[in-house]
């Protein structure tokens, strides 16, 4: 895999984003709610060796039950509105919603109004907005990190985000909506 290593050596050097110094580990669950697949292509690269989102303490996970952030793409079709809601309800709290791409933000070349339930902001509380059609892998990483930084630094939002520092196991008797036996991950 000489080619891979050489590519990484040259391109990483030019990468503008650097891992921050704040300790954090957040899990992202992606839901495609009717995108053109552009956001998915770019998001998939974000987890690849070039952009390596794990450097920033972020990772894409398979289940909403393990996720802190619901990352939604697409204008939310009528057919995806319910699966999206189910995924959101399956997440432990505190949880965040990120709108990825112009369609999720409700401002792109959308389509037939009858087929759309969105925009996302009318269905779920959107915390992070990442514009672009589609946003490049670097803009997705920057959008997520900037959004998280803004939330953690803003006192009014401090209860909406979970970081390694403030995440504690629930007190006995604490109810985690939707799944009584969920325990938060510990790192």
């Amino acid at each position: 895999m000489f080619v891979l290593l050489r590519q990484l050596r040259t391109i990483r050097r030019e990468a503008s984003l650097r891992p921050g110094d704040e300790p954090r580990w957040l899990a992202i669950r992606h839901v495609d709610a009717g995108s053109c697949n552009g956001c998915e292509h770019e998001l998939a690269l974000l987890g690849g060796p070039l952009h390596d989102i794990q450097r920033f303490g972020l990772d894409i996970v398979a289940s909403p039950r393990h996720a802190d952030i619901l990352l939604v793409t697409g204008p939310v079709t009528t057919r995806m509105a319910q699966p999206l809601q189910i995924a959101y309800e399956a997440m432990p709290t505190p949880r965040l919603v990120a709108a990825l791409g112009d369609c999720a933000l409700g401002c792109n070349v959308l389509a037939d109004r009858d087929q759309l339930a969105g925009p996302l902001s009318e269905l779920l509380p959107v915390d992070i907005r990442i514009p672009g059609c589609p946003p490049s892998p670097e803009s997705i990483a920057a959008g997520l990190l900037d959004g998280l930084r803004a939330i953690t630094q803003h006192p009014a939002h401090s209860s909406r985000v979970s970081t390694t520092r403030d995440r504690r196991p629930p007190q006995s008797g604490t109810v985690w909506p939707g799944h009584g036996n969920h325990q938060p991950k510990e790192h």
Binding site: M1, F2, V3, L4, Q7, L8, I11, H30, V31, D32, A33, G34, S35, C36, N37, G38, E40, H41, E42, L43, A44, L45, G47, G48, P49, L50, I60, A62, S63, G74, P75, T77, R79, M80, P83, A87, N108, V109, L110, A111, D112, D114, Q115, L116, C133, P134, S136, P137
Partner: protein, 466 residues
């Protein structure tokens, strides 16, 4: 030029059989809001469109003669209310309100159970639902249920001018946006009577091949991911990312949005830019070849590909499979050999010495096609790219069909114009043609092999759902 042929709906089957016997091939069918039904056929003289208006919304089904038309008829039934005599049972496709029995294959017997997957999948994957009928781990049948991403793009494009409707064709799918928009532009130009000059043909061909390059790099990596071979999937993810960056540097967008227009070509390159792109593509080609060699010598990867997800030659023909998937099954057919509106003079489609129709064959055909694409790109970039506009010919017939070889196969766009506006837009992407073939190739395989089989076809959901 496409000439719509008005026929009596009762004569459709007869007219179709006659045309097919003379060597024509079905390329798509679509209904219209005023109760019309159209069937498009590719012939050596060009595209023929049979136009009819079935009385009382009932028409004879053509699926007995054209197996590829099954989804077209199911879609026309769900979205436009047409009834098809002889299409039994006519299962729902786009309509999600029907009960499970109305859209799944009846499978009975000892130990048969269903496994439901999706619409949300575990990775960064498009939304769609699969219902597997299994005995143990063995798949007996698969019913894919797509259209979760149905945005009504075709209807939204209707009533708009040619230029305004183009973004709807582009947004059907990012990864096939060049193919979809070139097919759309060709359809409109066919309908109004425009012809692209050599420079415009070269420009669109270049864009199509750039799109194919990053898609094939992606799809080779996807097969590696399908067997959990991380070094391969990572190497090709980086190569694909580099190819997309070249697209952005040259034409301003990583998916080449905005580079295709109706009647002219907005994408230009001066001599220095063309030379730079050519040099960077040569570098990428060398790196891709080295990465592919690594894959060829990885015994653990290669051992997982043979004999999995076989689409036989006969089944590929029967389902009307297209693109690399069809060529991997020995159906050596490529729209690039029949594209007078593009610059593919003397193009010879890739073929394999042993086209087994399995995952291994679909993996290898992409590498072979990638070589041809690098070669084409190198030739196309030998001169700078200048602005050019299509020229008027004799006025068209108001109906146009564009056919383009997308990275996944033949993509067909049909356009009907009225008073200078789009009255009907229909996009039949390569993925649409291949989903039924993919479902068929899955039968008889192990359930855990489905992700691999799926990745080897690497079909879009967005293109199909629209």
């Amino acid at each position: 030029m496409t000439v719509p042929e008005l026929i009596d709906a009762r004569e459709l089957r007869t007219a179709l059989t006659g045309t097919l016997e003379s060597g024509a091939r079905f390329v798509g069918a679509w209904a219209t809001a005023d109760g019309g039904w159209r069937v498009a056929l590719a012939t050596v003289q060009g595209t023929r469109v049979l136009v009819c208006t079935p009385a009382g919304g009932r028409v004879d089904s053509i699926v007995q003669t054209v197996g590829a038309a099954v989804w077209d008829e199911r879609e026309a039934h769900d979205l436009y209310g047409l009834e098809f005599d002889g299409h039994e049972p006519l299962r729902t496709l786009v309509d999600h309100s029907a009960a499970l029995e109305a859209w799944t294959t009846p499978v009975r017997g000892g130990g048969v159970h269903q496994v439901a997957v999706g619409p949300i999948h575990a990775g960064v994957i498009e939304s769609g639902h699969f219902r597997f009928h299994c005995v143990g781990d063995r798949i007996l049948a698969l019913d894919p249920r797509l259209f979760y991403k149905h945005r009504g793009l075709e209807r939204a494009a209707e009533g708009r001018g040619y230029g305004q409707a183009l973004p709807y064709a582009a947004r059907a799918c990012a990864a096939c946006s060049v193919a979809n928009t070139v097919a759309y532009a060709q359809a409109v130009e066919d309908a109004v009577g425009l012809w692209p000059p050599a420079e415009l043909r070269r420009q669109r061909t270049l864009l199509l091949e750039l799109e194919r390059a990053y898609n094939h790099l992606n799809d080779i990596g996807a097969v590696c991911a399908g067997v959990g071979f991380a070094p391969g999937s990572m190497a090709f993810a980086v190569l694909k990312d580099r190819a997309q960056e070249l697209c952005r540097q040259a034409f301003g967008h990583r998916f080449l949005f905005g580079a295709v227009a109706v009647g002219h070509g907005p994408a230009t390159l001066d001599a220095a830019q063309a030379d730079a792109l050519r040099a960077q593509l040569r570098e990428l080609r060398a790196d891709a070849a080295a990465a592919w060699r690594d894959l060829e010598f990885s015994a653990s990867l290669q051992a997982r590909l043979d004999g999995v997800g076989v689409l036989s030659h006969d089944r590929a023909l029967q389902f009307g499979a297209v693109g690399p998937a069809a060529r991997a099954s020995g159906v050596v057919r490529d729209v690039r050999t029949d594209s007078p509106r593009l610059a593919y003079m003397g193009f010879v489609p890739a073929s394999l010495p042993q086209a087994g129709g399995d995952v291994a064959a679909r993996f290898q055909i992409r590498a072979a096609e990638l070589e041809a694409t690098w070669e084409l790109l190198d030739g196309l970039l030998s001169e700078p790219l200048t602005r050019s506009a299509a020229t008027w010919q004799e006025p068209g017939g108001g109906v146009g069909v564009g056919r383009v070889e997308s990275p996944r196969g033949e993509t067909v766009c049909m356009v009907e114009l009225a008073a200078g506006r789009v009255a009907r837009l229909h996009l039949r992407s390569a993925s649409y043609a291949n989903w039924p073939a993919l479902a068929d190739a899955t039968a008889g395989n192990l359930l855990p092999d489905f992700p691999l089989i799926n990745k080897s076809f690497e079909l879009c959901y967005a293109c199909v759902d629209r």
